[in-house]
Amino acid sequence: MAASISGYTFSSVCYHSANSNSDHEGFLLGEVRQEETLSISDSQISSSEFLHIVEVHNHEPCAQLFSFYDYAGKVNEENLNRILKDRRKNVIGWYRFRRNTQQQMSFREQVIHKQLTNILGIPDLVFLLFSFISTANSSTHALEYVLFRPNRRYNQRISLSIPNLGNTSQQEYKVSSVPNTSKNYASVIKEHGAEFFDKDGVIKDIRAIFQVYSALQDKVQAVCAEVDQSERVKEKIQEEVKKLKEEISLRKRITAAEERRHQESLNTENHSLQDDSALSDSSSPPSLTRVLLQSPPLEVSLDWPPNSTALPLYPAAPAPPPAPPSAILLPRPQAVGSPGHPSPGLGLGNGDGSSSDSLNRQAIGQEDQLEEEEEEEDEDEDSSEYENLVSERLQSPSLTDTAVSLGRPAALWPDGDTHSSGGSS
């Protein structure tokens, strides 16, 4: 069983008690609740622990002694109701203050406690005993308090905790679960609460943050769609590249075959000229090299100057993204809570500065040159953010990295430079 009392209630009780010139008593109001802790571990299926929590919210002091009982200790229910009025249902215990006595329940207190338990119908009524000890020369005074639950046979004393009374330098200021039952407090909060709370009782700032969060989520979703689209386009392009390569090699073979036939025909003509066989041998390599030399031009011809040949092969590629710029421009919060503005002055592909390097490193085969050309082209673009998107969409591995990094606003730094941890790997 645990018990807690708020600091102000405790100090109020102490104040009433210490200012009385004799013993003092009163009632404790609050609530008792039961907490069940279910713990599941590997060794056992589940175990539940029940904990009674007694919370003291308020107190009702009695104006004088013997106000609700007589000399024999018999409790008078009428007087009790007169003192408690409509707070009778909130009673969880009672308290007594006496100076210079032992921390033990006295004869009359026990008699009264039994009767109160029956009259109020609270089986676990608690009793808080304050004793005030002063030294003989009045130099030191001690206020001691013990909470009893006399209706139990064992473990009659329970510890009473007062939140935030103690050494708070090493622990945080705790918010107590003991509610403030003051009417004045409730009316002030009601009056001024509209500035902080919306109609549902939720703090407004929380809603604003949620809105930012959902906007970010939408953007991430949109980028995902775009990534998906660009991946498909890339796949298509790769297929075409493959096809074209095959065509090239086919054409090469055809050409080579024709050349051979041609050579053979030449050889049969120059059959008499056998001393030229060496030359013919040597000439074949030149023809081969010529053939070979021809292939790069073939490959080169496959380079896409963005303006001309690229167009028939990759119609969709370099076109600016169909979505309006604002949709792609991801807000980059400079500071927490402020709407993001795109940071100017970012260098070449340095929106994700490291990522452009990684793009270079990760490029595969022909794509290296493609990238370089692309990047050179992209220098001319206005917005550096565009270059992020456009260049990245053409590169498979880094694209996914960057897309992931875009979805992680936590990695963004307030100074505007974006460093994606994914891109730097």
């Binding site: 210490a18 010139n21 004799s22 013993d23 004088q64 002694l65 013997f66 000399y71 024999a72 200790g73 018999k74 006496r98 100076r99 210079n100 006595t101 032992q102 033990q104 329940m105 006295s106 004869f107 009359r108 207190e109 026990q110 008699v111 002063s134 009045s138 005074h141």
Partner: protein, 386 residues
């Protein structure tokens, strides 16, 4: 824990409560053991520390009971002196008397100085009941208690203390304190006058401690009020027979009672016998009597002459006369010993019988003197110097 003298306690207590405490301190004798009166310690106040004194209103009361001392806290409120006090019963946390059994609490009258004392007596009665209830843990001791209760001689003046069960060994101990119904009223006054303190009531208490529930370790002890103890011959009067193993109180206590009664009878008898003896000697020796103890009849001095030889005879009568023989001391009036004392000879054994009456003893004594004196004279002349 310093015990306060009654005057100090009274001076520190709040004036409105003073009469109540006065009767407790001055007249407070509760329980069987009335030689120990109630003590007050730990006077404290329930008022704020700035209240000018005297304003003490709570204290600890020490009550002797069944050989133990109960320490009860009594709590008043100086600001509301008409209200009845509250009690904390020390270590007896389970003792909770029924308020309806305490008439002086229900009808507390702060104007009656004896109210507190009466309330304490009622509480003590309830405490006794509570202790007797605790005896139910041991059937053997309960039997002892019940058997004593039935006997009207002992049942009404008994205090039981059923000790705490030793939680380690499960031992249960109890102490019975019984007032023995012995009549001390006929003891001659002279025997009682020597005590310096106020003797109080003459009482004999028998305390029997049972150290275990099976009554195998039993330690009886007799307590006598100081005057009785002196009258019966000092600490030797406290010797009582050991508790017979397997015996029970209902047999043992009457035994002790009888022993004590016999002693008292002897003492009373002795007194009368001595008186008779002295009277007889007075009548036989007449002018020869120098002096005698006319109160206790324990001494007698005679000055006798035989053939122009004068001598003194001192007769010392013991406490248990006539069972014990008187001591005769013959003293010469002429001769001195080397240490400057008169030459004397002590005779403890001479013809004597306790069955003789005073006259007979006087006659026989006279005859003995006649027979012994020549011897004494020779001795005096031989060993003493003039």
């Amino acid at each position: 824990m310093n015990s306060l003298s009654p005057e100090v306690a009274l001076s520190r207590i709040s004036p409105e409560l003073r009469p109540l405490l006065c009767s407790v301190v001055r007249n407070g004798r509760v329980g069987l053991d009335s030689t120990n009166c109630l003590r007050i310690t730990d006077l404290k106040t329930g008022c704020t520390s700035l209240t000018p004194g005297p304003c003490c209103d709570r204290f600890k009361l020490h009550i002797p009971y069944a050989g133990e001392t109960l320490k009860w806290d009594i709590i008043f409120n100086a600001r509301d002196p008409e209200l009845p006090p509250d009690f904390i019963f020390g270590e007896d946390a389970e003792f909770l008397p029924e308020p309806s059994e305490l008439p002086h609490l229900v009808a507390w009258d702060a104007g009656d100085p004896d109210c507190l004392l009466q309330l304490v007596k009622e509480l003590l009665q309830q405490y006794h009941q509570y202790q007797c209830q605790r005896l139910r843990d041991s059937s053997r001791l309960l039997f002892e208690y019940d058997s004593l209760l039935e006997d009207p001689n002992y049942g009404r003046s008994m205090e039981i203390y059923a000790g705490r069960k030793n939680s380690w060994t499960g031992e249960f101990s109890a102490r019975f304190l019984l007032k023995l119904p012995v009549d001390f009223s006929n003891i001659p006054i002279y025997l009682l006058k020597d005590t310096a303190l106020d003797p109080g009531e003459d009482v004999a208490l028998l305390s029997v401690s049972f150290e275990d529930a099976e009554a195998t370790q039993v330690f009886p002890k007799l307590f006598l009020s100081p005057s009785i103890e002196h009258a019966l011959g000092g600490p030797s009067a406290l010797h009582i027979p050991a508790f017979p193993s397997g015996g029970c109180l209902i047999d043992y206590v009457p035994q002790v009672c009888q022993l004590l009664t016999n002693k008292v009878q002897y003492v009373i008898q002795g007194y009368h016998k001595r008186r008779e003896y002295i009277a007889a000697f007075l009548s036989h020796f007449g002018m020869g009597v120098v002096e005698y103890d006319a109160v206790g009849f324990t001494k007698l001095t005679l000055l006798l002459m035989w053939k122009d030889f004068c001598f003194l005879v001192h007769v010392d009568l013991p406490l248990y006369f006539p069972r014990d023989q008187p001591t005769l001391t013959f003293q010469s009036i002429y001769h001195f010993t080397s240490s400057g004392q008169l030459y004397s000879q002590v005779q403890k054994s001479y013809p004597y019988s306790p069955r003789w009456d005073g006259n007979e003893m006087a006659k026989r004594a006279k005859a003995y003197f006649k027979s012994f004196i020549p011897q004494f004279q020779e001795g005096a002349f031989a060993n003493g110097k003039l």
